[in-house]
């Protein structure tokens, strides 16, 4: 099944999720493969010579056993008291299938995820044949999380098939955490400040009307009121519904049938808003969360410089978490995802949708172009999840940008943030 949620279709979020409910999974949605990408020809006969890729893991099972057990236990308890409707009983049966598939696999890459990585690798090879030639260096690194390491390896094994003369490197080390798994405790501490917390709670209240769901699963709403932690249960049940697409059960079992389209939208809205608060430029918590990824952006800019002298094409593949990818996309303001607002309702209206930014298998790929080694006017284009992306920078050759302009823009942005932090610290000390 080809499930494609992309902005380029110019659909609204509501239309997109209505057509493909899997998109409502947000960052649990799996980036589809097999889409024919069109590349704008590079100006002046320039050719790609370097790809810097910062991507997320492919699909994996939920991390904790409790994420499977809690909804099942909630329903099993109701069942033991004859409080489930026939649909409720059937849902419990489906949940047990889901749990069985995940036993002893929590947090591990799924076969669907492995397949996705192999296909994405093949798409990269097919799209950039000039890069994957004899002597090219393909240097892959992953954060020290097993599903990330396995994602990297599936990707690399596919690349390995392509050419026996590629130089392949694999690494996964905590010594790279500072720029591959960058976390900023100070920014994190601000995420849910009092104002944000109150705003998000109000947003939850406005998007948490699941009366229909309770009535269809349980025989008594009184029972639900008394015995079910509805906030946690509905959230976890929807997470299980979202995750099916990433497992071998995809196409065999679904849980989307138990929801109305509006319920699906409400669940998505809640997760999307939370992702925006944590990783986006939400004004109420300072709008600076994406700066947590300043180290990967530094790295990306500087690596580009060091590659210029290489005789062979180079690919840097970095595998990190979806949160990191999302922050990086927002920091780079790709496709206007740097959106700054204090109104969570604006996200849907302005197309800030988590599944468009950092689903499983997502990536930011910066592709460098030049005529030859003597060419000083290096151009870059950025692919967000495989599609040519828009940068907040002036250019005369979109979707290509002059490398120097790009560097200057982002360096100024990073330096301005450093100054802000410096000033804040100074104020604190005074």
């Amino acid at each position: 099944m080809l499930l494609i949620c992309t902005q380029s279709t110019a659909q609204t979020v509501t239309e997109e999720i209505k057509t493909i409910p899997q998109c409502s999974a947000g960052i649990i949605y799996s980036l589809p493969t097999g889409k024919q990408q069109t590349d704008t020809p590079a100006p002046d006969g320039k050719k790609p010579f370097y790809i810097s890729h910062f991507g997320s893991t492919a699909a994996y099972y939920l991390e904790k056993v409790s994420e499977y057990e809690f909804p099942i236990n909630t329903m099993a308890k109701a069942d033991s008291m004859n409080m489930l409707t026939p649909l409720g009983k059937d849902v419990l049966r489906r949940l047990r299938f889901i749990e069985e598939d995940a036993i002893h696999r929590t947090g591990e890459l799924t076969v669907n995820g492995a397949q996705q990585m192999r296909e994405l690798a093949q798409e990269m090879i097919d799209r950039f044949p000039d890069i994957f030639v004899d002597g090219s260096i393909i240097d892959a690194r992953s954060i020290v999380r097993n599903h990330c390491i396995m994602s990297m390896q599936e990707f690399m094994t596919q690349i390995a098939r392509h050419n026996a003369s590629l130089e392949l490197r694999l690494k996964s080390s905590h010594s790279n955490d500072s720029w591959m798994y960058a976390q900023d405790k100070e920014l994190e501490a601000d995420r849910f400040n009092a104002e944000t917390d109150a705003t998000y709670k109000a947003f939850i209240k406005a998007n948490h009307n699941f009366k229909h769901l309770w009535e269809s699963l349980f025989v008594s709403t009184d029972y639900v009121k008394e015995h079910v932690d509805t906030t946690q249960f509905s959230d976890m049940l929807f997470t299980l519904a979202s995750g099916i697409q990433n497992t071998p059960l995809d196409g065999t079992i679904t849980l989307y049938d138990i929801y109305t389209p509006e319920e699906i939208m409400q669940h998505w809205r809640l997760h999307n808003a939370k992702n925006y608060i944590c990783y986006g430029s939400f004004e109420l918590n300072g709008g600076n969360q994406p700066f947590a990824q300043r180290a990967p952006l530094w790295n990306l800019l500087h690596q580009g410089d060091s590659i210029k002298e290489q005789d062979h094409p180079v690919v840097h593949l970095r595998y990190s978490s979806r949160g990191m990818v999302m922050e990086l996309v927002c920091l780079m303001e790709l496709n206007d995802f740097g959106l700054k607002t204090a109104d969570l309702n604006q996200l849907e209206k302005q197309g800030w949708a988590n599944y468009r930014i950092a689903p499983f298998g997502s990536s930011v790929q910066v592709v460098y172009y030049r005529k030859d080694k003597s060419d000083d006017d290096i151009l870059i284009k950025v692919l967000l999840n495989g599609e040519e992306a828009r940068l907040p920078i002036k250019t005369d050759c979109a979707p290509y940008y002059h490398c120097e302009d790009v560097k200057r823009y982002y360096l100024r942005k990073l330096y301005a943030h450093e100054k802000l932090r410096f000033d804040q610290k100074k104020d604190k000390n005074e």
């Binding site: 097993n146 098939r161 996964s172």
Partner: protein, 433 residues
């Protein structure tokens, strides 16, 4: 280093009764040998016996250890470091002592954020092994062959697996490859007996080990080399532990990219490294092999699940038309008892006397260096062949099994099955009783 390692490996490649030179001589030429499970793995392509007449290799079953890695945590390093730091604060270090301290600082700094991780050298070892495998047994990988790889869930094992698979994929692009690192397989990929592991050594075994160790620990010469007034320093430095852990610190570096810096190893005499080897060799034997005072010497049976899995997996592959390999990536604490359980090269030696294991050739450094592996190479004339032969490679060299054969180093698979399944059944029957 490479030439030296090759020479050593060549000289030590013989089965137990024919070990060509004493351990001390080996250590003189290759100090890494003293590191036991931190022994480094060489890039050596060994000469193997040609395939049995009319048969060809078609299936490989493998259990291998991850490649060279950093030490798992800083505990072992912190012990000598804390001691020497104290001596430094009271100005008790000689010039050599000061240099030792600076080396230790560098090693600690370099190891930070890398504890337990695969080193670059470890990745290289797996490239070599994959290349050797393809060179020695190309028939296994040609045509529409398959490779199924499994790793424990430990990152250094996963990367070791990925490195080998990439080599295969580059050479054989059409190879069907699957790779997995799942908790689902841990019951046989990394089974550790909780009772024996928790208890480590039984009281009797501990007593015997302590006696064995008592004459081999300590190092007055080192104390005088490093400290100005060893008598004063003894107030703050435990000579035994300081010497033991400092030697380890030096030896472990041979696995990392600091391998060229042998300063810390060079301050030790070969005889001192040899005594360290004796202590560790005895400990590995007492804990993981057939040391009878330690729970009756039953530890190798902890790998019964793995052995059954290897047998069952082979049974299901032997008559497949397609050729292929099953590769498993795990740990020394699995490989060592497995080798002992199988009795490869006489490593099923049963003994209650730690003083005799060295003279009887039970040398753990030959069994489980970094990237060590056990490979079963299967041969047949056709998928219908009823007399399937195989040979075992321990660290890529042909090895001997304690079962009868008329075509050594090859063995009849049916004989192997019968012998080991009976052995496992008999152990499990006794356990039930």
């Amino acid at each position: 280093m490479k030439t030296r390692l090759f020479l050593i490996l060549f000289l030590t490649s013989y089965i137990i009764p024919f070990k060509a030179q004493p351990v001390l001589d080996i250590i003189k030429k290759n100090p890494a040998y003293a590191a036991c499970n931190y022994n480094t793995y060489p890039d050596s392509l060994y000469k193997l016996t040609p395939a049995p007449k009319g048969k060809h290799p078609f299936y490989i079953s493998h259990y291998g250890r991850h490649g060279s890695r950093y030490i798992n945590n800083s505990n072992g390093y912190n012990i000598p470091y804390a001691m020497i730091m104290q001596a430094e604060t009271v100005d008790e270090l000689t010039p050599v002592g000061k240099k030792v301290l600076s080396e230790m600082k560098m090693i600690l700094q370099h190891s930070e954020h890398r504890w337990g991780e695969l080193a670059e050298y470890g990745r290289l070892q797996h490239k070599w092994i994959a290349q050797h495998m393809m060179k020695q047994f190309p028939e296994v990988f040609e045509g529409n062959a398959w490779v199924e790889a499994k790793s424990t869930t430990v990152p250094r094992c996963i990367i070791s697996m990925g490195t080998e698979l990439n080599e295969f994929a580059q050479r054989y692009p059409n190879l069907e490859i699957s790779q997995e690192a799942s908790k689902r397989d841990m019951w046989y990929m990394n089974y550790q007996d909780q009772v024996m592991k928790r208890g480590k050594l039984s009281p009797d075994a501990k007593k015997a080990f302590d006696e064995y160790v008592s004459t081999r620990m300590g190092n007055n010469r080192l104390m005088e080399l490093i400290f100005k007034n060893p008598d004063i320093v003894k107030e703050m430095v435990n000579e035994t532990d300081f010497s033991y852990y400092l030697m380890k610190m030096g030896l472990f570096q041979l696995n990392t990219h600091l391998y060229k810096n042998t300063f810390l190893i060079d301050i030790f005499h070969p005889e001192e490294l040899y005594r360290l080897w004796q202590i560790d060799n005895a400990l590995w034997f007492a804990q993981y092999a057939n040391f009878t005072p330690n729970y009756g010497g039953q530890y190798p049976y902890t790998q019964r699940h793995l052995l059954r899995k290897i047998i069952n997996d082979a049974d299901s592959c032997l008559h497949m038309v397609r050729h292929g390999a099953q590769l498993r990536f795990g740990h020394d604490t699995v490989l060592l008892p497995l080798v002992c359980l199988l009795g490869i090269n006489g490593y099923d030696l049963r003994s209650d006397n730690l003083d005799e294991i060295e003279s009887k050739g039970w040398w753990c450094s030959d069994i489980f260096p970094m990237a060590s592996s056990l490979q079963f190479i299967f041969y047949r004339s056709s998928p219908k062949d009823k007399d399937i032969l195989f040979k075992v490679l321990l660290n890529e060299q042909e090895a001997r099994l304690p079962i009868h054969t008329d075509c050594a180093p090859y063995y009849h698979w049916r004989d192997f099955r019968r012998h080991y399944l009976k052995k496992l059944d008999s152990f499990e029957k006794k356990q039930k009783k």
